[in-house]
Symmetry: C2
DNA sequence: CTGAAAGCGCTTACAG
DNA sequence: CTGAAAGCGCTTACAG
């Protein structure tokens, strides 16, 4: 078995209280005692049992992270940002199992009781009542890309601003008939991007077609459009994946991009740069770091008033517009 | 404060022992008692304090995950696979802070004492002595893509087999002068891929140029090669990123791919499919799930003998060869 | 079937 | 500066 604080106390011939104080750098420990304890700890290879400490102090130094089924860069960058800030402040990340619906999310959150000092939850697909029911009073929680909840800090991408900027960019370059391929139904990001597109149309005709954020749905949308002989000179997809699908469908149909039709996406995934796709860039790692910082401030009592914060969404013009 | 087991006991008018037994589904609890306890727990919104339970039972139901600075798909797929298996068996994932060197890795591992029942460690850049020093006797540990350690289970990509298969594929399609762009020095994956290339050359001339797994190093390598007037008809890069760099350099030089020079990579990142890059595919999520399964088997006493397991690496031929 | 008690490995007032 | 003791919230032999 691994050495416990008792073993160290025995070897150093002091009480466990002194060992605890010495190892935690408390003020009042005689230098000689401290040295003896350090030597004993080293000789035993003693490492404090973090779980026991957490029970005594009622702090686990862990942030619970509850995420939906995320892929690729988004997931890795988000976790990277969370980890960056958490590590810098001496916290671990406890990942919940990936959840698909509100019930699973609530269950994941419950399972973290006594395990974490703070919670970062991302649940873009869960509606307000279900979300409110799932989020407990404690520990402090920051919501990422989720519906707003009164009294809780929310952090999300500036979907509305980004979509409006893209729409204006397309209008500004002379496009008039801009088709928007919407994201998954019920998804808050999808909804806000659609709203941003609408708000910026400034009288240009609105034309929305349903998608589900998958590449194939972007291709399907455009194929259906072309089949019915619809006219348009720009496609603004609610994410890059669907824009890639749109590009494929346009290529199949022999339509020049951006000559005849401009194409734009949202997210700036790595592939977008390689394909020259005009899109909206978001600094996901920054969003993660920011979320961790906010929730730890709250957990440590330095709470700012709950707010609805936005991570900037920046237009990146490339060759498809 | 959140309700504790004491509160439930008081409301249900039983001892805490009975509450514990009832809520853990122990055999011997009178149905009526059980019902009263369930009702009390529900009315109080009681959720057991997982940290306290873990101290009593000496099981945390968490797997510590110690990873280097990973990006994109590799990271997300690995964590997805780990999470899939861990969740299925009722375990959480505790992410250590991302480590850069052996000292940080050892520190991350130490910080997990008392927090996890098992450890999954990936440290391809750490040499054998440092790795041996960092990995403790307990808890059970499975190594991913790391150097082999006696008595411990290792799981890694079949780098040698994959690289050999790719080399044979290039030879089989008539290429004779195959340049290998090696990965980062000291990295075990890089080393094994190089060895696989060498083993399969079968008398064809060996030509190795240094790289560091970054896209730019692949481009640099090819530019330098072309500048010195070297002759070659194939480039096999130790990962896809460097292969993309090579493609760029060849395009700049007006060299036809695959007409004059074939290009191949390793990893099959998403971009590879879009660019038509011939490469080696690895099922990263499967590697994660497998690692979690192995380490939990060991933690739960169903230990198989330590072994050196390989995740298959499959050749995917596309348009660059 | 149920309860009183010890124990998991720490921390922290409280005395001295 | 140091120690004895209580306590964090659970679980689990041990009695009954």
């Amino acid at each position: 078995m691994a050495a416990t604080i008792r073993d160290v106390a025995r070897v150093a011939q002091v009480s466990v209280a002194s060992v605890s104080r010495a190892l935690n750098g408390a003020a009042s420990v005689h230098p000689e005692t401290r040295a003896r304890i350090a030597a004993a700890a080293a000789s035993l290879g003693y490492v404090p049992h973090a779980g026991a400490r957490s029970l005594s102090t009622a702090r686990s130094h862990a942030i619970g992270v509850v995420l939906p089924d995320l892929h690729g860069e988004f997931f890795s960058e988000l976790v990277r940002g969370l980890d960056r800030e958490a590590s810098a402040r001496g916290y671990h990340l406890l990942l919940s199992n990936i959840h698909a619906d509100a019930d699973l999310a609530a269950q994941a959150i419950r399972a973290m009781r006594g395990l974490v000092d703070a919670l970062v939850v991302m649940a873009p697909q869960i509606d307000t009542p279900a979300l409110a029911a799932a989020i407990p009073e404690r520990p402090p929680t920051v919501l990422i890309n989720s519906r707003a909840l009164p009294g809780r800090t929310g952090l999300s991408v500036d979907n509305h601003g980004g979509a409006a900027a893209m729409t204006r960019h397309l209008l500004g370059s002379g496009r008039r008939r801009i088709v928007h391929i919407a994201g998954a139904a019920g998804n808050i990001d999808a909804r806000e991007r659609l709203a941003g597109y609408r708000a910026a149309l400034a009288g240009a005709p609105e034309r929305v077609v349903a998608g589900d954020f998958q590449e194939e749905s972007g291709a399907e949308a455009i194929r259906a459009f072309l089949a019915e002989g619809a006219e348009f000179d720009a496609v603004f997809a609610a994410n890059d994946q669907m824009a890639f699908g749109a590009l494929t469908a346009l290529r199949e149909a022999g339509i020049a991009v951006p000559g005849q039709v401009a194409v734009a996406g949202f997210d700036d995934v790595p592939l977008a740069r390689h394909l020259g796709l005009t899109t909206i860039r978001i600094d996901i790692a920054q969003m993660g770091a920011r979320a961790a910082a906010l929730v730890l401030d709250e957990a440590q009592g330095a709470a700012a008033a709950p707010a609805d914060l936005r991570i900037p969404a920046t237009l990146v013009a490339r060759t498809t517009t």
